[in-house]
Symmetry: C2
Amino acid sequence: MVVLAALPTVGVDLLRERLDVATDGRAAGAVAIVSDPSIRVDADLLDAADSSLEVVANFGVGYDNIDLDAARVRGVRITNTPGVLTSATAELAVALMLAAARRIAEADAMVRRDEWARSDTDELIGRELAGATVGLVGFGRIARRVAELIRGFDVRLLVTSRSSGTPWAGAERLKLPDLLRASDFVSVHVPLTAETRHLIDASALATMKPGAILVNTSRGAVVDTKALIDALRSGH
Amino acid sequence: MVVLAALPTVGVDLLRERLDVATDGRAAGAVAIVSDPSIRVDADLLDAADSSLEVVANFGVGYDNIDLDAARVRGVRITNTPGVLTSATAELAVALMLAAARRIAEADAMVRRDEWARSDTDELIGRELAGATVGLVGFGRIARRVAELIRGFDVRLLVTSRSSGTPWAGAERLKLPDLLRASDFVSVHVPLTAETRHLIDASALATMKPGAILVNTSRGAVVDTKALIDALRSGH
Protein backbone atom coordinates (compact mmCIF):
# COMPACT_ATOMS: atom_id res chain seq x y z
CA MET A 1 0.00 0.00 0.00
CA VAL A 2 1.06 3.59 -0.40
CA VAL A 3 0.59 6.17 2.30
CA LEU A 4 0.18 9.66 0.92
CA ALA A 5 -1.50 11.05 4.00
CA ALA A 6 0.45 13.00 6.60
CA LEU A 7 -0.15 10.27 9.18
CA PRO A 8 1.38 10.53 12.63
CA THR A 9 4.46 8.30 12.87
CA VAL A 10 2.65 5.97 15.24
CA GLY A 11 0.03 5.36 12.53
CA VAL A 12 2.58 4.52 9.85
CA ASP A 13 4.38 2.18 12.27
CA LEU A 14 1.10 0.39 12.98
CA LEU A 15 0.49 -0.15 9.26
CA ARG A 16 4.05 -1.43 8.76
CA GLU A 17 3.42 -4.15 11.35
CA ARG A 18 0.91 -5.77 9.00
CA LEU A 19 1.51 -4.45 5.48
CA ASP A 20 4.12 -3.57 2.92
CA VAL A 21 4.02 0.20 3.17
CA ALA A 22 5.52 2.76 0.77
CA THR A 23 5.66 6.43 1.71
CA ASP A 24 7.59 7.64 -1.34
CA GLY A 25 4.39 8.88 -3.03
CA ARG A 26 4.52 6.45 -5.96
CA ALA A 27 1.09 4.91 -6.39
CA ALA A 28 1.96 2.44 -9.18
CA GLY A 29 1.02 -1.13 -8.20
CA ALA A 30 -0.55 -0.12 -4.88
CA VAL A 31 -3.51 -2.15 -3.63
CA ALA A 32 -4.49 0.58 -1.21
CA ILE A 33 -3.88 4.30 -0.86
CA VAL A 34 -4.11 6.12 2.46
CA SER A 35 -5.02 9.70 1.70
CA ASP A 36 -6.10 12.67 3.77
CA PRO A 37 -8.20 15.74 2.99
CA SER A 38 -5.13 17.68 1.77
CA ILE A 39 -4.51 15.13 -1.03
CA ARG A 40 -6.47 15.33 -4.26
CA VAL A 41 -7.66 11.84 -5.17
CA ASP A 42 -8.69 12.25 -8.81
CA ALA A 43 -8.72 10.19 -12.03
CA ASP A 44 -4.99 10.86 -12.58
CA LEU A 45 -4.00 9.48 -9.19
CA LEU A 46 -6.35 6.49 -9.50
CA ASP A 47 -4.96 5.68 -12.96
CA ALA A 48 -1.38 6.01 -11.71
CA ALA A 49 -2.14 3.24 -9.21
CA ASP A 50 -3.50 1.11 -12.03
CA SER A 51 -5.88 -1.83 -11.81
CA SER A 52 -4.20 -3.18 -8.68
CA LEU A 53 -5.93 -0.47 -6.63
CA GLU A 54 -8.85 -1.69 -4.53
CA VAL A 55 -9.36 0.91 -1.84
CA VAL A 56 -8.63 4.52 -0.94
CA ALA A 57 -8.74 4.98 2.81
CA ASN A 58 -9.17 8.66 3.65
CA PHE A 59 -7.79 9.70 7.03
CA GLY A 60 -10.51 12.07 8.22
CA VAL A 61 -14.27 12.40 8.24
CA GLY A 62 -14.56 14.75 5.23
CA TYR A 63 -13.90 13.44 1.70
CA ASP A 64 -14.32 16.55 -0.42
CA ASN A 65 -10.79 15.81 -1.73
CA ILE A 66 -11.97 12.65 -3.52
CA ASP A 67 -13.52 12.38 -6.98
CA LEU A 68 -16.17 9.83 -6.02
CA ASP A 69 -17.38 9.31 -9.61
CA ALA A 70 -13.87 8.58 -10.86
CA ALA A 71 -13.45 6.00 -8.07
CA ARG A 72 -16.83 4.41 -8.74
CA VAL A 73 -16.22 3.79 -12.45
CA ARG A 74 -12.86 2.19 -11.60
CA GLY A 75 -14.42 -0.04 -8.94
CA VAL A 76 -12.30 1.52 -6.18
CA ARG A 77 -13.87 1.63 -2.74
CA ILE A 78 -13.53 4.76 -0.59
CA THR A 79 -13.47 4.71 3.18
CA ASN A 80 -13.33 7.52 5.71
CA THR A 81 -12.96 7.69 9.49
CA PRO A 82 -16.11 9.25 10.91
CA GLY A 83 -16.55 9.38 14.65
CA VAL A 84 -12.95 9.00 15.78
CA LEU A 85 -12.33 12.73 15.82
CA THR A 86 -15.80 13.84 16.92
CA SER A 87 -14.84 14.46 20.52
CA ALA A 88 -11.38 15.84 19.70
CA THR A 89 -12.81 18.31 17.18
CA ALA A 90 -15.62 19.39 19.49
CA GLU A 91 -13.10 19.91 22.27
CA LEU A 92 -10.90 22.00 19.97
CA ALA A 93 -13.93 24.16 19.11
CA VAL A 94 -14.62 24.77 22.82
CA ALA A 95 -10.91 25.37 23.46
CA LEU A 96 -10.81 27.97 20.67
CA MET A 97 -14.00 29.68 21.93
CA LEU A 98 -12.52 30.01 25.42
CA ALA A 99 -9.04 30.94 24.17
CA ALA A 100 -10.46 33.68 21.93
CA ALA A 101 -12.77 34.91 24.69
CA ARG A 102 -9.94 35.19 27.19
CA ARG A 103 -7.32 36.20 24.60
CA ILE A 104 -4.92 33.49 25.68
CA ALA A 105 -2.68 33.48 22.59
CA GLU A 106 -2.33 37.27 22.82
CA ALA A 107 -1.52 37.12 26.52
CA ASP A 108 0.98 34.29 25.95
CA ALA A 109 2.75 36.30 23.22
CA MET A 110 2.78 39.37 25.47
CA VAL A 111 4.46 37.47 28.30
CA ARG A 112 7.04 36.01 25.90
CA ARG A 113 7.82 39.54 24.66
CA ASP A 114 8.35 40.47 28.32
CA GLU A 115 5.62 43.09 28.07
CA TRP A 116 3.36 41.75 30.80
CA ALA A 117 4.15 44.47 33.38
CA ARG A 118 3.55 47.21 30.85
CA SER A 119 0.17 45.86 29.79
CA ASP A 120 -2.84 48.11 30.08
CA THR A 121 -5.14 46.50 32.63
CA ASP A 122 -8.20 47.01 30.47
CA GLU A 123 -6.64 45.23 27.55
CA LEU A 124 -6.88 41.51 28.13
CA ILE A 125 -9.84 41.01 30.44
CA GLY A 126 -11.87 39.35 27.70
CA ARG A 127 -15.30 37.95 28.24
CA GLU A 128 -17.02 34.90 29.70
CA LEU A 129 -18.62 32.02 27.85
CA ALA A 130 -20.96 31.51 30.80
CA GLY A 131 -24.23 33.31 30.21
CA ALA A 132 -23.40 34.01 26.56
CA THR A 133 -25.45 33.04 23.51
CA VAL A 134 -23.74 30.30 21.51
CA GLY A 135 -24.81 29.57 17.93
CA LEU A 136 -23.91 26.22 16.39
CA VAL A 137 -24.07 26.21 12.59
CA GLY A 138 -24.93 22.65 11.67
CA PHE A 139 -26.01 20.11 14.26
CA GLY A 140 -24.35 16.82 13.40
CA ARG A 141 -22.17 14.62 15.61
CA ILE A 142 -19.50 17.23 16.34
CA ALA A 143 -21.90 20.10 17.10
CA ARG A 144 -23.90 17.83 19.42
CA ARG A 145 -20.73 16.97 21.27
CA VAL A 146 -19.93 20.70 21.58
CA ALA A 147 -23.39 21.22 23.08
CA GLU A 148 -22.67 18.40 25.53
CA LEU A 149 -19.25 19.77 26.51
CA ILE A 150 -20.53 23.27 27.29
CA ARG A 151 -23.64 22.25 29.23
CA GLY A 152 -21.84 23.23 32.46
CA PHE A 153 -21.44 26.80 31.19
CA ASP A 154 -25.12 27.86 31.34
CA VAL A 155 -25.20 29.29 27.83
CA ARG A 156 -28.20 30.07 25.63
CA LEU A 157 -27.80 27.53 22.83
CA LEU A 158 -28.96 28.26 19.28
CA VAL A 159 -28.64 25.78 16.43
CA THR A 160 -29.29 25.82 12.72
CA SER A 161 -29.82 22.51 11.04
CA ARG A 162 -31.39 21.05 7.90
CA SER A 163 -33.22 18.24 9.68
CA SER A 164 -36.53 18.96 11.38
CA GLY A 165 -37.74 18.25 14.89
CA THR A 166 -36.38 19.52 18.20
CA PRO A 167 -32.70 18.76 18.05
CA TRP A 168 -31.63 19.02 21.66
CA ALA A 169 -33.17 19.75 25.02
CA GLY A 170 -32.74 23.44 25.67
CA ALA A 171 -31.49 24.38 22.20
CA GLU A 172 -33.47 26.77 20.00
CA ARG A 173 -33.51 26.15 16.26
CA LEU A 174 -33.13 29.31 14.17
CA LYS A 175 -32.48 30.24 10.57
CA LEU A 176 -28.82 31.12 9.94
CA PRO A 177 -29.23 34.94 9.76
CA ASP A 178 -31.23 34.97 13.00
CA LEU A 179 -28.67 32.75 14.70
CA LEU A 180 -25.80 34.97 13.54
CA ARG A 181 -27.61 38.11 14.71
CA ALA A 182 -28.19 36.74 18.21
CA SER A 183 -24.95 34.88 18.98
CA ASP A 184 -21.95 36.05 21.02
CA PHE A 185 -20.08 32.92 19.88
CA VAL A 186 -20.64 31.18 16.53
CA SER A 187 -19.12 27.73 15.96
CA VAL A 188 -19.33 26.16 12.50
CA HIS A 189 -19.90 22.40 12.12
CA VAL A 190 -20.97 21.60 8.56
CA PRO A 191 -19.38 19.42 5.88
CA LEU A 192 -17.93 21.23 2.85
CA THR A 193 -20.35 20.89 -0.06
CA ALA A 194 -21.33 23.13 -2.98
CA GLU A 195 -24.06 24.51 -0.69
CA THR A 196 -21.83 25.29 2.28
CA ARG A 197 -18.83 26.72 0.43
CA HIS A 198 -18.53 30.33 1.68
CA LEU A 199 -21.66 29.84 3.80
CA ILE A 200 -20.06 32.41 6.11
CA ASP A 201 -19.57 35.16 3.54
CA ALA A 202 -19.43 38.96 3.76
CA SER A 203 -23.16 39.23 4.30
CA ALA A 204 -23.18 36.53 7.02
CA LEU A 205 -20.26 38.25 8.76
CA ALA A 206 -22.03 41.64 8.58
CA THR A 207 -25.04 40.02 10.27
CA MET A 208 -22.97 38.94 13.26
CA LYS A 209 -22.84 41.01 16.44
CA PRO A 210 -19.87 43.39 16.45
CA GLY A 211 -17.13 41.72 18.50
CA ALA A 212 -18.72 38.26 18.32
CA ILE A 213 -16.32 35.31 18.22
CA LEU A 214 -16.33 33.00 15.18
CA VAL A 215 -14.79 29.53 15.47
CA ASN A 216 -14.48 27.25 12.46
CA THR A 217 -13.25 23.72 13.05
CA SER A 218 -14.92 22.44 9.87
CA ARG A 219 -13.35 22.89 6.41
CA GLY A 220 -11.73 26.28 5.90
CA ALA A 221 -13.66 26.99 2.69
CA VAL A 222 -16.96 27.13 4.60
CA VAL A 223 -15.78 30.62 5.56
CA ASP A 224 -14.89 33.18 2.87
CA THR A 225 -11.40 34.07 4.11
CA LYS A 226 -11.17 37.29 2.12
CA ALA A 227 -14.49 38.51 3.52
CA LEU A 228 -13.34 37.51 7.01
CA ILE A 229 -10.12 39.53 6.67
CA ASP A 230 -12.12 42.52 5.41
CA ALA A 231 -14.55 42.23 8.34
CA LEU A 232 -11.67 42.03 10.84
CA ARG A 233 -9.85 44.98 9.23
CA SER A 234 -13.04 47.04 9.37
CA GLY A 235 -13.09 46.41 13.13
CA HIS A 236 -16.49 44.68 13.05
CA MET B 1 -11.13 58.50 48.21
CA VAL B 2 -7.91 57.39 46.60
CA VAL B 3 -7.78 54.63 44.04
CA LEU B 4 -4.45 52.81 44.05
CA ALA B 5 -5.77 49.68 42.36
CA ALA B 6 -5.35 49.10 38.63
CA LEU B 7 -9.12 49.31 38.14
CA PRO B 8 -10.61 49.08 34.66
CA THR B 9 -11.54 52.57 33.40
CA VAL B 10 -15.23 51.71 33.65
CA GLY B 11 -14.76 51.05 37.38
CA VAL B 12 -13.04 54.38 38.04
CA ASP B 13 -15.74 56.19 36.04
CA LEU B 14 -18.41 54.52 38.16
CA LEU B 15 -16.73 55.68 41.37
CA ARG B 16 -16.39 59.23 40.04
CA GLU B 17 -20.15 59.40 39.53
CA ARG B 18 -20.63 59.28 43.30
CA LEU B 19 -17.38 60.19 44.95
CA ASP B 20 -14.44 62.54 44.89
CA VAL B 21 -11.78 60.24 43.46
CA ALA B 22 -8.02 60.73 43.35
CA THR B 23 -5.81 58.43 41.32
CA ASP B 24 -2.53 60.22 41.88
CA GLY B 25 -1.50 57.75 44.58
CA ARG B 26 -1.47 60.25 47.44
CA ALA B 27 -3.31 58.75 50.37
CA ALA B 28 -3.22 61.79 52.68
CA GLY B 29 -6.72 62.77 53.82
CA ALA B 30 -8.42 59.85 52.07
CA VAL B 31 -11.53 58.38 53.69
CA ALA B 32 -11.24 55.24 51.60
CA ILE B 33 -8.51 53.46 49.68
CA VAL B 34 -9.25 51.11 46.80
CA SER B 35 -6.37 48.64 46.63
CA ASP B 36 -5.73 45.44 44.75
CA PRO B 37 -3.56 42.41 45.51
CA SER B 38 -0.52 44.00 43.84
CA ILE B 39 -0.54 46.89 46.33
CA ARG B 40 1.01 46.46 49.76
CA VAL B 41 -1.36 47.88 52.36
CA ASP B 42 0.86 48.18 55.42
CA ALA B 43 1.29 50.43 58.45
CA ASP B 44 3.17 53.03 56.35
CA LEU B 45 0.35 53.38 53.83
CA LEU B 46 -2.32 53.43 56.54
CA ASP B 47 -0.43 56.13 58.44
CA ALA B 48 0.02 58.17 55.25
CA ALA B 49 -3.77 58.28 54.94
CA ASP B 50 -3.97 59.45 58.51
CA SER B 51 -6.98 59.31 60.83
CA SER B 52 -9.42 60.22 58.06
CA LEU B 53 -9.14 56.67 56.70
CA GLU B 54 -12.15 54.47 57.41
CA VAL B 55 -11.99 51.66 54.89
CA VAL B 56 -9.64 49.84 52.53
CA ALA B 57 -11.62 48.18 49.74
CA ASN B 58 -9.51 45.47 48.11
CA PHE B 59 -10.40 44.73 44.49
CA GLY B 60 -10.13 40.93 44.47
CA VAL B 61 -10.94 37.95 46.61
CA GLY B 62 -7.46 37.46 48.11
CA TYR B 63 -6.12 39.95 50.68
CA ASP B 64 -2.66 38.60 51.36
CA ASN B 65 -1.42 42.11 50.41
CA ILE B 66 -2.99 43.65 53.51
CA ASP B 67 -1.53 43.87 57.00
CA LEU B 68 -4.75 43.01 58.84
CA ASP B 69 -3.29 43.66 62.29
CA ALA B 70 -2.09 47.13 61.30
CA ALA B 71 -5.58 47.92 59.97
CA ARG B 72 -7.28 46.53 63.08
CA VAL B 73 -5.31 48.66 65.57
CA ARG B 74 -6.08 51.77 63.48
CA GLY B 75 -9.81 50.95 63.33
CA VAL B 76 -9.73 50.67 59.53
CA ARG B 77 -12.19 48.24 57.99
CA ILE B 78 -11.07 45.95 55.16
CA THR B 79 -13.37 44.69 52.45
CA ASN B 80 -12.77 42.31 49.56
CA THR B 81 -14.85 41.17 46.58
CA PRO B 82 -15.44 37.43 46.94
CA GLY B 83 -17.75 35.74 44.48
CA VAL B 84 -17.72 38.20 41.59
CA LEU B 85 -14.76 36.53 39.91
CA THR B 86 -15.57 32.94 40.83
CA SER B 87 -17.03 32.02 37.47
CA ALA B 88 -14.53 34.09 35.45
CA THR B 89 -11.58 32.52 37.26
CA ALA B 90 -12.97 29.01 36.92
CA GLU B 91 -13.53 29.60 33.23
CA LEU B 92 -9.98 30.87 32.81
CA ALA B 93 -8.71 27.68 34.50
CA VAL B 94 -10.69 25.52 32.05
CA ALA B 95 -9.58 27.72 29.14
CA LEU B 96 -5.93 27.29 30.16
CA MET B 97 -6.33 23.50 30.58
CA LEU B 98 -7.76 23.19 27.08
CA ALA B 99 -5.34 25.70 25.55
CA ALA B 100 -2.35 23.88 27.04
CA ALA B 101 -3.75 20.48 26.04
CA ARG B 102 -4.26 21.54 22.43
CA ARG B 103 -1.20 23.84 22.34
CA ILE B 104 -3.20 26.79 21.08
CA ALA B 105 -0.69 29.54 21.94
CA GLU B 106 2.08 27.57 20.20
CA ALA B 107 -0.05 26.96 17.12
CA ASP B 108 -1.09 30.62 17.01
CA ALA B 109 2.54 31.76 17.19
CA MET B 110 3.50 29.24 14.49
CA VAL B 111 0.84 30.58 12.11
CA ARG B 112 1.92 34.16 12.79
CA ARG B 113 5.54 33.19 11.96
CA ASP B 114 4.15 31.77 8.70
CA GLU B 115 5.48 28.32 9.62
CA TRP B 116 2.19 26.45 9.49
CA ALA B 117 2.88 24.54 6.26
CA ARG B 118 6.30 23.46 7.46
CA SER B 119 4.97 22.07 10.73
CA ASP B 120 5.59 18.43 11.53
CA THR B 121 2.18 16.76 11.69
CA ASP B 122 3.03 14.95 14.91
CA GLU B 123 3.91 18.17 16.62
CA LEU B 124 0.74 19.91 17.68
CA ILE B 125 -1.88 17.19 18.02
CA GLY B 126 -2.02 17.56 21.77
CA ARG B 127 -4.37 15.62 23.98
CA GLU B 128 -8.01 15.57 25.05
CA LEU B 129 -9.48 16.66 28.34
CA ALA B 130 -12.32 14.17 27.83
CA GLY B 131 -11.52 10.91 29.59
CA ALA B 132 -8.57 12.43 31.45
CA THR B 133 -8.03 12.53 35.20
CA VAL B 134 -8.36 16.07 36.55
CA GLY B 135 -7.04 16.93 40.01
CA LEU B 136 -8.35 20.05 41.75
CA VAL B 137 -6.11 21.26 44.57
CA GLY B 138 -8.46 22.97 47.00
CA PHE B 139 -12.20 22.71 46.69
CA GLY B 140 -13.65 26.11 47.47
CA ARG B 141 -16.00 28.19 45.33
CA ILE B 142 -13.75 28.45 42.28
CA ALA B 143 -12.76 24.78 42.18
CA ARG B 144 -16.43 23.76 42.53
CA ARG B 145 -17.30 25.97 39.60
CA VAL B 146 -14.47 24.33 37.58
CA ALA B 147 -15.98 20.93 38.42
CA GLU B 148 -19.35 22.21 37.22
CA LEU B 149 -17.95 23.64 33.97
CA ILE B 150 -16.20 20.42 32.97
CA ARG B 151 -19.01 18.03 33.82
CA GLY B 152 -19.72 17.65 30.09
CA PHE B 153 -16.18 16.36 29.51
CA ASP B 154 -16.52 12.97 31.26
CA VAL B 155 -13.36 13.32 33.31
CA ARG B 156 -12.30 11.43 36.41
CA LEU B 157 -12.37 14.16 39.06
CA LEU B 158 -10.02 14.12 42.03
CA VAL B 159 -10.03 16.76 44.74
CA THR B 160 -7.96 17.57 47.77
CA SER B 161 -9.55 19.62 50.47
CA ARG B 162 -9.17 20.38 54.15
CA SER B 163 -12.85 20.01 55.01
CA SER B 164 -14.27 16.52 55.50
CA GLY B 165 -17.27 14.81 53.96
CA THR B 166 -17.94 13.95 50.32
CA PRO B 167 -17.37 17.20 48.51
CA TRP B 168 -19.06 16.56 45.17
CA ALA B 169 -21.01 13.83 43.46
CA GLY B 170 -18.53 11.82 41.44
CA ALA B 171 -15.39 13.43 42.84
CA GLU B 172 -12.84 11.38 44.77
CA ARG B 173 -11.04 13.01 47.68
CA LEU B 174 -7.32 12.22 47.85
CA LYS B 175 -4.27 13.44 49.70
CA LEU B 176 -2.19 15.88 47.61
CA PRO B 177 0.65 13.48 46.66
CA ASP B 178 -1.85 10.82 45.54
CA LEU B 179 -3.81 13.38 43.56
CA LEU B 180 -0.63 14.67 41.88
CA ARG B 181 0.49 11.13 41.03
CA ALA B 182 -2.82 10.24 39.34
CA SER B 183 -3.75 13.45 37.49
CA ASP B 184 -3.27 14.30 33.81
CA PHE B 185 -4.39 17.86 34.60
CA VAL B 186 -3.81 19.61 37.93
CA SER B 187 -5.60 22.89 38.64
CA VAL B 188 -4.74 24.85 41.78
CA HIS B 189 -7.46 26.69 43.71
CA VAL B 190 -6.20 27.60 47.17
CA PRO B 191 -5.76 30.94 48.93
CA LEU B 192 -2.17 32.05 49.55
CA THR B 193 -1.34 31.46 53.21
CA ALA B 194 1.80 30.50 55.11
CA GLU B 195 0.68 26.87 54.66
CA THR B 196 0.09 27.05 50.91
CA ARG B 197 3.13 29.13 49.91
CA HIS B 198 5.14 26.87 47.59
CA LEU B 199 2.60 24.07 48.12
CA ILE B 200 3.58 23.00 44.60
CA ASP B 201 7.31 22.70 45.17
CA ALA B 202 10.05 20.57 43.60
CA SER B 203 8.86 17.45 45.38
CA ALA B 204 5.22 18.00 44.38
CA LEU B 205 6.27 18.58 40.76
CA ALA B 206 8.39 15.42 40.78
CA THR B 207 5.32 13.51 41.96
CA MET B 208 3.29 14.60 38.94
CA LYS B 209 2.94 12.42 35.86
CA PRO B 210 5.53 13.27 33.23
CA GLY B 211 3.83 15.54 30.70
CA ALA B 212 0.93 16.39 33.00
CA ILE B 213 -0.53 19.89 32.66
CA LEU B 214 -0.42 22.26 35.65
CA VAL B 215 -2.74 25.27 35.72
CA ASN B 216 -2.54 27.85 38.49
CA THR B 217 -5.17 30.56 38.58
CA SER B 218 -4.67 31.16 42.29
CA ARG B 219 -1.80 33.28 43.66
CA GLY B 220 1.48 32.72 41.85
CA ALA B 221 3.42 32.03 45.05
CA VAL B 222 1.43 28.82 45.65
CA VAL B 223 3.79 27.38 43.03
CA ASP B 224 7.56 27.53 43.51
CA THR B 225 8.44 29.19 40.20
CA LYS B 226 12.13 28.23 40.37
CA ALA B 227 11.26 24.58 40.93
CA LEU B 228 8.73 24.77 38.10
CA ILE B 229 11.34 26.14 35.67
CA ASP B 230 13.76 23.39 36.73
CA ALA B 231 11.10 20.73 36.20
CA LEU B 232 10.24 22.10 32.75
CA ARG B 233 13.94 22.33 31.75
CA SER B 234 14.47 18.76 32.86
CA GLY B 235 11.71 17.75 30.43
CA HIS B 236 9.51 16.24 33.17
